[in-house]
Each structure stands twice: as C-alpha cells, then as structure tokens.
C-alpha cells in the first residue's frame, strides 16, 4: 500500500477519496454542512518547521474541497481546530479520541460546539477514515 507524507495535498486527496468512498460515512454525515479547518502548530523538534494550515469541506455526506492552505483561508472555516503536532498525530492515529482531546484542552475548537456534539459520529468517522490512509509522519522520517 502506498504511503503519503502527512499534511501534503496528496495526503489530503487520498483522505478525501476514502471519505467519498465510504457508504457508511455518507449515511452518518447526511446532515453535516460546512467546513472544518485545522491548524497544526509548528514544532521544529518534530520536523514540523512551520505551522500547517488545512482546509476540509463537507456537505450532506460528501467531502468537497480539501486543501493545504494559508492562514487566511483557515480562518474562513465553520469550525477551526488548533493543536500541537503531537496531539494531531495522536488523534490521526486513533491514540487519542478527538472529543477527549477537546475536553482535555489538547485541541481547541472555534465554532458551534453544540453542532459538533450533535454530529459527533460524523467527526469520529472522518478520523476513522484518516487512519486508513498510510501516513508518513514528519518525525518518523
């Protein structure tokens, strides 16, 4: 199975493909509307020299635009999630549940928390599908 470098456009494209290929996701996320952007704080000690900005957009069970972007684009997200690299890696590898990461303050959310709670199955399914992407992490290189 091919492996992809984390936080690259190629990696995002494969993740998006996984989401759009999932019938289960389509059903779970049929009510979800809006984008989720992610900010991964720079951590040179982990080979992440600069802050990473990612934009992902979802609508009624479909994944739409997935982009490595700039800070301005990230701020347009309906939900903006921020965290350190180590936490994002834990979440992406399912070593830390995203809801727990939020509650423990390891990830920060800007956006309507009520909506996220209402649609927490969708959030978890998106992460589940990310774990199916063979990922090369910067600090594992």
């Amino acid at each position: 199975m091919a492996a992809y470098k984390a936080f690259t456009q190629e990696w995002l494209d494969v993740w998006k493909e996984k989401i759009n290929g999932s019938k289960e996701y389509k059903e779970i996320a049929k009510d979800w509307e809006g984008s989720v952007t992610m900010i991964c704080n720079a951590d040179p000690s982990k080979n992440v020299p600069e802050t990473v900005y990612l934009f992902t957009d979802y609508w009624h069970g479909d994944a739409l635009e997935f982009l490595v972007c700039d800070e301005a684009k990230v701020q347009t997200g309906k939900f903006i999630m921020t965290g350190d690299y180590a936490r994002w890696k834990q979440v992406a590898k399912k070593e830390l549940d995203p809801t727990k990461a939020l509650m423990q303050g390891k990830l920060k959310l800007k956006g309507d928390l009520t909506y996220v709670v209402r649609n927490v199955k969708t959030v978890n399914k998106v992460i589940d599908l990310l774990t199916e992407v063979q990922t090369i992490w910067p600090d594992d290189v």
Partner: protein, 619 residues
C-alpha cells in the same frame, strides 16, 4: 481561622434548643469539611447503629472551607446522615446558594438531632437562630414552601422538603431554592422524620482569606482556565445533558432498564442540543459560577405543558427518558418538575419506575397490582400518576416508595432480577459495560452506586488529564478491566475532595489541580501539596468505609447487579462486562482492605484514624 466561620450550629428538635459547637483547627485540617468532617463527627458523637429515622440520628448540613469565598464552583455544601434508603453512610452534595449564605450567617454547618412534636422551620439569620411552627406548610410542595418562605425577603435561601420527605419516602430529596437538590440516599426522609419542613439562611458576615493578594491572582487564572475549557463550554451550552449524544455513541447510556445497548432516536430526542433548541429559556448558575450549567426550561403546550422552571440534568433525561423508553423530552421536563415539587431523587424515582415497567412487561405485576395503571414502556401518564402516589405513599406507590431493592423484595423473588442497585442505591446513568472502571467505582462507592464520589468518569471517559497528580492515561479503553483498579483508586482520592472542600465536580474537571490547590491554600492558610490532597482523599474514603464496615458492609456488598454482568447485544458496550473479581481483588490490595472487605488496622493507623481502628477492631 480563615475559610471557616468558626462554629457549627447544633439543634435538638426534641428539646427545641440550639447551641454552637467549635472544632479545633487540627481536626479541621485533618477532615477539612463537608461530608468528610460530617463522617468524623458522626463516628465520634453519635450512635451509628440507631435507625436512620430515629430522633437520635443526626442530619448534618455541612460547608467546606472554600464555600463563600467567591471562588468558582464553591457554592456547594454537603448533607449527610445514615441513609434510610440503604442503611449505611448517606450523603449528597448540592450547588445553589444555601451553603455560602449559611456561612455568611455565621456557621460552617448545622447538626440536627431529635424530633419536633409538630412541624417546624429552622431560621439562621446573621448568627441568630429560631425554631418556628410550620404546621401550615406541612403538605405543601417544595416550590410552594420556597415561595412562601421568600415572600418577605427574596434573599433568604431555603432548604425544604416536599410531601415525599414528610411521608418518609426512602429516596426523598431536599430542595434548595427550587433549582438545586440534595437528591441521593433519601436525606429528605431524615429531615421529614424530624418534622423539619425547611431551613432558612440569611447572612452578611464577610469572610476573610488567608492571603488575599495570592487569592486574587489564582482567581484570575481560574476564570481563564474555565473560559478556555471546552468542557465548561459544553456545560454552558448544553448542560450536563451534553453527555447524552456522546454517551450513546460510547455505550454509556442505559436503556430500557439496562437491557438495550443502543437507540439513537432516544439520544437524539433527549439530548442537550435538543433541549437547547426546543425548551431552554435560559442558563442558570449556582453562586459564583461562571459556567452556568443549570437549565431553565418551559414546555409551552401539548400534553406535557410545564411552567418555566428548573430543567432536567442528564441523569434525569436517562431515568425518565432512555430507561423507560420515553422519546419525548417535554415529558422528561414534566417528570422532573413533579419530582422537584414532591421532593424526590430523580435517579432513584425513575429507576424504580423503570424496574416496575419491566416487572409489568414480564407479568410479575399486573394492572390490578399497579392500581389500574398501564405500566407499559413510555406511558408517561402512568409515570406522572405513580410519582404522585409514591410521594404520598398511596397504593402501589407505597411499595415503590421504598426504592427499587426493597420494593422488589416485597414483590417476590422473581422481581429481584429486574433490580439494578449497589448497596441499595440505584446507579446513575452510566453503564459499566461501556466503562469497566465505572463498575468498580459503583461497587466501592461508600454511599452505594455513585458517579460523584470520585472522578472515575472524568478520567475513564477522557474529560480530564491530570498527570501532575498521578500516573494516568489520556485515553482509556472503556471496555477493559485491566489497570482500572489503580485508576479508580486515584480517581477516588482526588474526586472525593469535592465533598470536603465543597467544590463542584464539574469545576474540578475544568480547573488544573494546582489552581484548586493554590486557591484552597490561599483561602485557608493551609499548606497542602498534592500528596496532602490525595492522603486527605484516601482518609475520607477510608473513614466512610470504616463506618460502613461497622454497619455490616463487607465483601458481600461490593458486587455489581446481575444486569450489569449480562452482556448487551448491541451498541458500543456490546459483549463486554466488567471483570468484577479482577477489579475487586486488585482494588482491595491497593486500598488496604482485608479479603473480607474490612479496612485493615495498618491502613487505619497510616491514615490517622486510630479511633476508627479501636471501634472496628474492638481495642
């Protein structure tokens, strides 16, 4: 002494006299306050073998040293007594505003014994105490009594019982200003047995802090931590019922009297977001709390029309929702309002009715036995009728008024499999099949199955991360019993401090432990380190366990009910049950209990409890 008003009020209702009690600093530092100090006084001064409803058994309303300081979450106070529901140590904590007001009125607590020949009210106004006749209030519900007591002075804080307390319903609650309840273990019945309808507090005494400057600095840090906390935000937006959606996904929510593992229609209909969208009129806060997790709700029309008032917590959405297969949140709000008025614990009331519905379905009871009520799942008209009957002990309600365990015993051996309880107390709405650590916490909680005598839920469900206190994981696997004994041990030693410091459980989850410790020290002038906190917590747990040992609790009582040991067929908790023996064996070794579940002599001495050692080992 900073943090303390300096005296406790002792009230003998048989003689109609009040006196004050002072406690030396060393004892306060050792037992801190709240329910821990209450347990210490109970063991030292009272006949613990007496019937809970006997005049000689005390009812203790206790503050902790942080109450009244203005620090976030310190509106709490504890009420403690021998429980009429379980026959062992009973306690419940409450938010609201009574605790701070009592301290401003000059007292750290009130210890009530005796029995008045006729109904009375106790008033504590700026250090002055008065016992007044209350015959005209007897029979009135909690909302009515509260309104009458506040008619002349809206600032008066009220603790009151309703008909359930008067009629000695074993899970009767005490209400504080309509919106806050001392629900668990039936302490409203103890108040009722003393013919004490209400306690009023009003005061303006200012309370100093040992280090005002340091306190101000910590206060600012605390407010920032709360503002930054997603947990606090979720509570503010959705109340404790924020737990419903997540809980359903994670196997935490009991359904149909603990027999079904998953029903997303139920959780969607009964969840915090739904309450916010359809019924919430505003959020309400306890004294000095920036979170405001309490709900104020109204059901404007339809069969469950209910006036604007205190809305249900998550637990109530479970017991009057998922547990009885009621899909209508409006009906939960109405059931909650009825329990509030009658003065009944919503967890025990709803759970006992859920058991009755299962017995009805199984044919163990019939319509005739149930006073011609159709106890079919989700029949809310029958539920409302039953609540009324329970509160006045009428017909079938008189049986259910004993709580599920004693009610089932009256209904015959076949009924016992439908009871879900530990040590006589129905569990809250968290299923140990999804989280095995919670199973152990239920088994070992000193007041019976409980989620608030420890922080096991916060740790196991990942709401908190406290690596500075002890080894713990950020992400526990729920469906395993491995390693959970140590987790629960630590969760108890820290979480139980809520009830002695008197701080809200939720705020403890939002704050860094160092912030809480520093605030405690700045208020009291004590010099506690984390290890002192954890030793105090261990002493608290052990003291109450020792009292329970003296009341007959042994290993035979540290068990989970059959239903929780029966795997579910669906949902996140499917196919998994706690390994009761593994959990208990590991826990006993860590906690210093003998194989029979008695606190060892060595542990009692290590924790500075020689008097308890003498009583337990007859020295």
């Amino acid at each position: 002494m900073n943090g303390y008003a300096g005296k406790f009020l002792e009230v003998d209702l048989t003689k109609g006299i009040c006196s004050s009690l002072t406690i030396e600093e060393a004892k306060l530092k050792k037992f801190i306050g709240g329910s821990c100090l209450a347990a210490s006084l109970y063991l030292e001064k009272y006949n613990i073998q007496a019937d809970p409803l006997a005049p000689e058994s005390p009812l203790m309303v206790m503050n902790g040293p942080m109450v009244g300081s203005g620090f976030p979450g310190t509106s709490r106070f504890a009420v403690a007594a021998k429980s009429p529901q379980t026959g062992i140590w009973g306690e419940a904590a409450c938010g609201g505003n009574f605790g701070p007001e009592l301290k401003k009125a000059g007292f750290d607590g009130i210890i009530i014994t005796g029995q008045s020949p006729s109904p009375v009210i106790l008033s504590v106004i700026n250090g002055e105490t008065k016992i007044s006749p209350a015959g005209d209030l007897w029979g009135k519900d909690i909302y009515e009594v509260t309104d009458i007591c506040k008619a002349e002075d809206k600032g008066i804080k009220v603790l009151a019982i309703g008909p359930a307390g008067e009629n000695l319903v074993k899970f009767a609650a005490i209400g504080n200003d309509k919106a806050h309840f001392i629900g668990r273990t039936g302490l409203g019945a103890v108040m009722g047995s003393k013919k004490l309808k209400a306690i009023l507090a009003r005061g303006n005494q200012s309370l100093g802090k040992a280090n005002e400057e340091k306190y101000k600095e910590i206060f600012k840090a605390a407010v920032k931590e709360i503002k930054d906390s997603a947990f606090a935000e979720s509570l503010h937006l959705m109340g404790s019922d924020a737990a419903m959606d997540l809980g359903m996904m994670n196997g935490d929510v009991p359904i149909k009297n603990w027999t079904v593992g998953e029903d997303y229609e139920l959780s969607s209909n009964l969840s915090g977001p739904t309450m916010r969208e359809k019924y919430l009129t505003k959020a309400h806060a306890c004294a000095n709390c920036p979170v405001a997790c309490k709900r104020v709700c109204v059901v404007k029309d339809g069969p469950y029309e209910t006036e604007e008032g205190p809305g249900p917590e998550y637990e109530t959405c479970g017991t009057f929702g998922t547990m009885i297969m009621n899909y209508d949140l409006g009906a939960v709000i109405k059931a909650n309002a009825l329990c509030n008025r009658y003065g009944m614990d919503t967890i025990s009331a709803g759970s006992t009715i859920a058991m009755a519905m299962e017995l009805y379905e199984k044919g163990i009871i019939d319509k005739k036995k149930a006073d011609n009520l159709e106890l079919t799942w989700g029949n809310m008209e029958a539920v409302f009728a039953l609540l009324k009957k329970i509160s006045v002990r009428e017909g079938f309600g008189n049986i259910l008024a004993e709580g599920s365990l004693k009610a089932a015993a009256q209904l015959g051996e076949a009924a016992m499999d439908s009871v879900v309880q530990v040590k006589g107390l129905e569990p809250p709405m968290h299923d140990p099949r999804g989280y095995h650590g919670m199973g152990l916490a239920y088994m070992m909680s000193n007041r019976g199955a409980c989620h608030l005598q420890h922080a096991a839920m916060g740790m196991e469900q990942g709401m908190v991360s406290w690596p500075q206190l002890f080894d713990m994981k950020d992400d526990y696997e729920g469906k395993t019993s491995q390693g959970k004994a140590m987790m629960v041990f630590n969760a108890e030693n820290y979480g139980i401090l809520d009830n002695s410091l008197s701080i809200c459980h939720y705020l403890m989850y939002c704050l860094k432990p160092e912030t809480l410790r520093d605030a405690f020290n700045a208020i009291t002038g004590f010099d506690f380190e984390f290890k002192d906190f954890l030793i105090s917590g261990a002493r608290d747990w052990t003291l109450k366990r020792g009292i329970n040992n003296l009341l007959g609790v042994t290993v035979k009582d540290d068990v989970l009910p059959k239903k929780i040991l029966t795997p579910l067929l669906e949902g996140a908790g499917a196919g998994s049950v706690p390994d009761m023996k593994l959990l208990r064996d590991e826990y006993y070794a860590i906690r210093g209990l003998t194989p029979n579940g008695i606190v060892s002599e060595e542990k009692l001495l290590e924790l500075g409890l020689p008097e308890l050692r003498d009583k337990l080992y007859k020295k």
